[in-house]
Amino acid sequence: MLAEPINENNAAEILVDAVYNENELVKKAQQGDSTGFRQLFDTNVNRIYAFCLRMSTNPQLAEEITQDVFVKAWENLHKFRGESKFTTWLHSIAVNEFLTQKRSEKRFMQRFVQTDDVLKYDRQGEKPEYHFNTNIDLENAISELPEQAKTVLILHDIEGYRHKEISELMNIEVGTSKAHLHRARKILREELSK
């Protein structure tokens, strides 16, 4: 059977169907059905990986964190109430993974690195191993942004979240989210005009 082409008349219906299907898959997965979860994984993995890749600028680390996100999602499925889209929920887990990672990195540096060597760990000059093939200069400039500003820019300008949603995802004030975005855009403008 040929798939029905999407047009103005049936777009809303298709969207409702997609949401309904997602809810059904979530219900299945919540009952322990890993095949339902597999379908949710298939639908969302590329988007979550792209987010992790931009945040980490390291394909290997991005893959590891993407895996962690889905394992955490599986472990916490009973907490998902369907109040947001499943992708949004996955993004919130991914953001948390990175925030936790950053905190752990700090502890790691304090425990692990001898003070004389700290400067040698500076990531400046480190070339990101990107796998996005378009707008490489822009992707590189994004990767150099301060961590919080980068997170807000990716969530707002690329993923399309609003400041209210970002404030919930990152546990920050709406005003802080706006300030980070403003700073990120300003730095990008300056970098790209060089």
Binding site: A50, H78, T100, L138, H182
Partner: protein, 222 residues
């Protein structure tokens, strides 16, 4: 309106979040001030490009296999709770979990016993072997990622281990991954030399002779 105010309001203007009077004032300033007009044009152009960046990317490897292993192995946390599963499901899950647990621990004990038997001759008959050191002292696993990596004066093949006092060296085009017991992994970048100086339960230290260690991932799971 001052230029500083204009700059602050650019984002809100683009998002359509300004009131009609603010919008009017903003547009009036943009009309009169060339510098701010340029600022706005550049921001709008930047946004257009950023918005067009891809939202998805395909991982290089199939991630599901590992995820499936992790969510179906005994290491996962419970997935059934009394809130979202009926009692029959929960009892069945609990029963299976117990069976898996006994099977898992039985298998682990058996494997440990086999390894111990295999190691006994070298432990007792040649106490100076590196193997004994590896068994008796904490060691760090080192994995070759690319090129020639020298660990403790030997070129490593794929995976080797380092203990306190050993050093690791990467060349122009070689990289390695170092696993710190209980902490996480560190990537040893090209042209780097380091020495393990301390490895105890709560403290691990290295002396970086030269080079770069980066892209570390710290384990934070319990």
């Amino acid at each position: 309106m001052k230029c500083t105010e204009f700059e602050i309001l650019i984002d809100d203007y683009i998002e359509g979040a300004l009131s009609s009077s603010e919008k009017q004032e903003f547009e009036l300033h943009m009309h009169d001030c060339e510098s701010c007009r340029k600022n706005y044009t550049e921001t709008a152009k930047l946004l257009e490009t950023v918005n067009s960046l891809p939202k998805s990317a395909e991982p290089m490897h199939d991630l599901w296999e590992n995820i499936e292993f992790r969510i179906t192995s005994g290491s996962r946390k419970k997935i059934f709770t009394l809130k979202n599963a009926n009692r029959e499901d929960y009892s069945e899950y609990k029963e299976n979990y117990k069976k898996n647990k006994y099977f898992k621990y039985g298998a682990i004990t058996l494997i440990a016993a086999m390894i111990l038997i295999a190691l006994l001759p070298s432990l007792f008959f040649n106490k100076n072997t590196p193997l004994l050191d590896k068994v008796m002292t904490p060691y760090w696993k080192v994995t070759k990622l690319s090129g020639i990596t020298i660990a403790a004066a030997n070129i490593i093949n794929d995976i080797d281990s380092l203990k306190v006092g050993d050093w690791l060296e990467t060349k122009d085009s070689s990289r390695a991954m170092l696993n710190v017991p209980g902490l996480g992994t560190v990537t040893v970048e090209p042209n780097t030399k380091l020495r393990i100086t301390k490895s105890e339960n709560d403290e691990h230290r290295i002396d970086l002779v030269y080079g770069i260690l980066c892209r570390f991932k710290v384990s934070y799971r319990n």
